[in-house]
């Protein structure tokens, strides 16, 4: 089935890095894009401008995915751009520490933003997708989760949870033309990882380099496309071979 006209995509955490690249890619593929941000309004506006300069449609959508204004975010996008038939749960935080020292707050904050918020936003967005008999949900997971990374038990739990959630919701809604998939980036060059890019880490990646946000975004673009209509419940690794 082809994508309904005037369909909009909402990308959470899209003011910079991987989220911004995803927003630009989806816009290039014809989606009108809601560019969500929590605090970096300037970054979100820059993403919107880049999309508009390239001939696309976008709006900046303010809101913290981990608190109660998720429905308002969806409504904002719908009223400005059209029904939200693509949701990319990208917003994420990291609060690293060895498990033995990890505070409850660090655990809770990471689970709340990286997992619970993605579930709640997906649940709320599915309603319109099911009604439209068309939808694309892409959850940005990580190679951390399926594999270990010392110091990130909270992050790994959330990301592994996201993959489990992806598979189950994919099962539930497949017959309504709604696909749910995950993309699992490896070591991607962003602000979040710039201090970690030591030679030693890069040597452990089979591709011997960091990935780019654009390489992650290309995978999301595919999963959000009409052509990926038979791909659901899967996790696409974009990791230079790290998890192979």
């Amino acid at each position: 089935m082809s994508r309904p006209e005037h369909a909009a995509a909402l990308v959470t955490g899209a003011s910079k890095g991987i989220g911004a690249a995803i927003a630009r890619e989806l816009a290039a593929d014809g989606w009108a894009v809601g560019v969500n941000y929590r605090s970096d309004e300037e970054g979100a506006k820059a993403t919107v401008k880049a999309i508009e300069d390239a001939g696309g449609r976008a709006v900046a959508v303010s809101g913290d995915v981990s608190d109660g204004d998720r429905r308002a975010m969806l409504k904002d996008v719908e009223s400005e751009l059209g029904p939200v038939l693509c949701l990319v749960n990208n917003a994420g935080v990291a609060r690293d520490g060895l498990a033995i020292q990890l505070e409850d707050d660090d655990w809770d904050a990471v689970i709340a933003t990286n997992l619970s918020a993605a579930f709640r936003l997906t649940r709320d967005a599915l309603r319109g997708m099911i009604k439209a008999r068309y939808g694309r949900v892409v959850n940005i997971a990580s190679v951390v989760g399926p594999r270990a990374n010392a110091g990130q038990s909270n992050y790994a739990a959330a990301k592994a949870g996201l993959i489990g959630m992806t598979k189950t919701i994919a099962h539930e809604v497949a017959r309504r033309g709604v696909t749910v998939n995950a993309v699992a980036p490896g070591f991607i060059a962003t602000d979040m990882t710039s201090e970690l890019a030591t030679d030693e880490i890069v040597k452990a990646i089979p591709a011997r380099r960091q990935g780019t946000p654009e390489e992650v975004a290309a995978a999301v673009r595919f999963l959000a496309s009409e052509q990926a209509g038979y791909v659901t419940g899967s996790t696409l690794y974009v990791d230079g071979g790290m998890s192979a």
């Binding site: 309603r127 099911i130 009604k131 539930e172 809604v173 017959r175 309504r176």
Partner: protein, 82 residues
């Protein structure tokens, strides 16, 4: 805004919604079971949302699990609204 929750209105909504899930209109009666109509749990969840949108009555998973026939669903919505 929300329509009046009468048996007649709710029945009309339910009867009109079921064909969206592939149910043959000629088979829809109050006594028909959702199992016989091949209406599954996702269909019932979607029906619940249609009812919530129309009447402002939210049916939860527990409620939906108890109903067997089309008539049960209509009666449940009417009882919640009164």
């Amino acid at each position: 805004m929300a329509a009046a929750i009468t048996e007649e209105n709710v029945q009309k909504t339910v009867f009109e919604a079921l064909p969206q899930f592939g149910v043959d209109e000629s088979q829809i009666t109050r006594d028909a079971t959702f199992e016989d109509l091949d209406v599954d749990s996702l269909d019932l969840a979607e029906l619940s949302q249609i009812i919530e949108d129309e009447y402002g009555v939210a049916l939860k998973g527990d409620d939906v699990g108890k109903i067997k026939t089309v008539g049960d669903a209509i009666d449940l919505v009417v009882s919640r609204g009164s």
